[in-house]
């Protein structure tokens, strides 16, 4: 059965992530939970897919550069009817299509990620293409804060600002963690907003779990007459929605067992936005 609800209710999205993570015995749950609200707002209010077609020529482009959060995107794509329920109950089954990191062969995923620092540049290319064609398509690239360690992102930032790619928005999931620990301890980033501003972006920082604030900031960016590319820095919590996962980097790697699955489901069902 194909779900057609399209409410992008964040409790439902988190439940989908938990269900598929449990079914597939997969990791990266915390990486998905920090971007649930960001994706919900994007898919609900901003991304345009004519005829609900993930391949539509005039679509907006959403590039999940931090491919580790792909389960959150799968959950949204389920609501759009692009993925069937079986894909979730059979996640990671032999011969299945949905991988643990984003893969461009899945309709709706614009790039193959997991190796970090790729999607940003692909997004800049998509935005440049829209500019050359004179279309009003917008391109979003969602990157992790840890991913900002990667050099190509800053190469692409220079290019996007030089070419006035006002149709490009980078969204930074600033959850404060990367694979081996806190970003502040591994490679400190300082002010991400100030960094992008110094590269020529218009930048805003929001609470990445406040859907109203996210929506307002994105709208504010697009309403601007500035020619600059946009940056939205979203302060988030890795593992958001399940107290024992929040701020606990072990959920970058840990698989759910029967007990933690039940506890997480309960926490998500009871969580209040």
């Amino acid at each position: 059965m194909i779900s057609q609800t399209k409410t992008f209710d964040t409790k439902a999205l988190r439940k989908t992530v938990l269900d598929m993570a449990y079914a597939g015995s997969t990791v990266h749950i915390g990486c998905a939970f920090s971007i649930i609200e960001l994706l919900a707002v994007l898919y609900r209010n901003h991304l345009r897919y004519p005829e609900n077609d993930p391949h539509a020529a005039g679509r907006d482009y959403f590039v999940l550069s931090k491919g580790h959060g792909v389960m959150a995107q799968y959950a949204c794509m389920r609501e759009l009817g692009w993925l069937k329920d079986e894909a979730f109950s059979h996640y990671f089954a032999d011969g299945s299509d949905l991988k643990g990191l984003s893969d461009s062969r899945v309709p709706g995923l614009e790039t193959t990620s997991g190796s970090l620092g790729h999607g940003f540049s692909v997004g800049v290319g998509l935005a440049m293409g829209a500019k050359l064609r004179g279309t009003d398509q917008k391109t979003y690239a969602l990157v992790g804060d840890g991913e900002l360690n990667e050099g190509p992102i800053w190469e692409g930032a220079l290019f996007a600002a030089h070419h006035d790619l006002k149709n490009f928005m980078v969204i930074v999931d600033e959850n404060g963690y990367q694979a081996m620990g806190r970003t502040a301890d591994v490679i400190k980033l300082g002010s991400i907003q100030a960094k992008f501003e110094s590269f020529g972006f218009d930048a805003l920082t929001v609470d990445g779990h406040d859907e109203t604030a996210i929506d307002s900031a994105i709208t504010q960016h697009w309403k601007s007459n500035s020619q600059a590319p946009k940056a939205l820095i979203a302060r988030t919590v890795k593992g958001k929605g399940v107290p024992f996962m929040e701020h606990n980097n072990i959920w970058h790697y840990t698989r759910l067992d029967h007990e933690t699955y039940a506890q997480a489901l309960s926490a998500v069902a009871g969580s209040v936005q």
């Binding site: 193959t112 540049s121 190509p152």
Partner: protein
């Protein structure tokens, strides 16, 4: 050869406005014509090759036909992962031009020399690898790269050694091109790029009955055609301005070992970097790739069995 490249690029771009040239801040005079004729299709991506290839993937996804230009040491070697993941994985129609391959930058040292680029690209699925030898092959390779609508790496090496064909040859993807007919049962030379000229010179001077073939397509390469050539040969000598590990010599040896076993001498860069600098000819000597050294190796090979 470079003029043929520029001419082909301008011609393709004028015929198809989706053709874009992306350069990593290289090609100073080479792109004068392109910039004059097709200024809106020219993008200098700056000294930022990784981002350039990622952008090319995005542009290709948006329907454009990017030609990505750089020195072979950087395009493809510096960006192998971007080529693999952003472009080849989706069979996107991006053409990579790696200029100055081999020892062209003989005075500049290892950073600008490129003798591992074919090995780096051959193993990437869905990526073709072309290595033209003269202006005719450049034109043919550019046309085929455009028509392929798929990822292609086009290697341009030493470009001032003259034509190896007397006229535009009939080119078919994957097939070798005969530049000097030979007698069955004699030595066969197979070479690519600038070393086709070397093979022709050696054959003309020392082995008048030897056939010389140019291999502009390293991948895909027509196994049956290669096997049929090997079957008619007493020995095969492969010459290339590339490492003997993973290049044309390896490709020929892989096919021959399976379909037409024959003794094969692989002449190329042995597993070493350049130690010193000098003229192109000096550097060939340092690597044992000057004509006298190659001829000695061939004699040793022929008498070794």
């Amino acid at each position: 050869m470079r003029a043929a490249f520029s001419e082909a690029l301008v011609r393709l771009a004028k015929a198809d406005s989706n053709v874009l040239l992306l350069t990593g801040d290289h090609g100073y005079a080479l792109f004068d014509d392109f910039r004059r004729e097709c200024p809106a299709q020219y993008i200098n991506a700056g000294i930022a090759e990784q981002n350039m290839v990622g952008m090319a993937a995005g542009l290709a996804r948006a329907g454009f036909r990017p030609f990505v230009y750089g020195l072979s040491a950087f395009i493809p070697v510096r960006v192998v992962e971007q080529i693999k993941l952003d472009v080849a994985h989706d069979k996107l129609p991006v053409v990579f031009i790696g200029d100055g391959a081999g020892f062209v930058y003989s005075h500049l040292g290892t950073s600008h020399q490129s003798t591992e680029d074919i090995a780096c690209t051959r193993a990437i699925p869905d990526l073709s690898v072309y290595s033209p030898a003269d202006r005719f092959e450049v034109t043919a390779c550019m046309n085929m790269a455009y028509q392929a609508k798929a990822p292609v790496y086009l290697r341009m090496g030493k470009s001032d050694r003259g034509d190896v064909h007397v006229a535009a040859p009939q080119v078919k993807i994957g097939r070798l091109l005969e530049v000097t007919p030979g007698k069955a049962g004699d030595i066969t030379f197979i070479a690519s790029g600038a070393f086709v000229r070397t093979a022709m010179n050696i054959a003309a001077g020392s082995y008048p009955d030897a056939a010389v073939w140019s291999a502009p397509f390293i991948k895909p390469i027509n196994s049956k055609h290669v096997a049929s050539i090997c079957e008619k040969s007493r020995v095969v000598v492969v010459l290339e301005e590339h490492s003997v590990l993973g290049g044309l010599g390896s490709a020929i040896a892989e096919i021959a070992s399976e379909f037409a076993p024959v003794r094969i001498l692989r002449v190329g860069v042995r597993d070493r970097f350049s130690h010193r600098c000098g003229t192109y000819e000096y550097l060939l000597q340092e690597h044992g790739l000057d004509r006298p050294a190659i001829e000695q190796r061939i004699r040793d090979f022929l008498t070794a069995n």
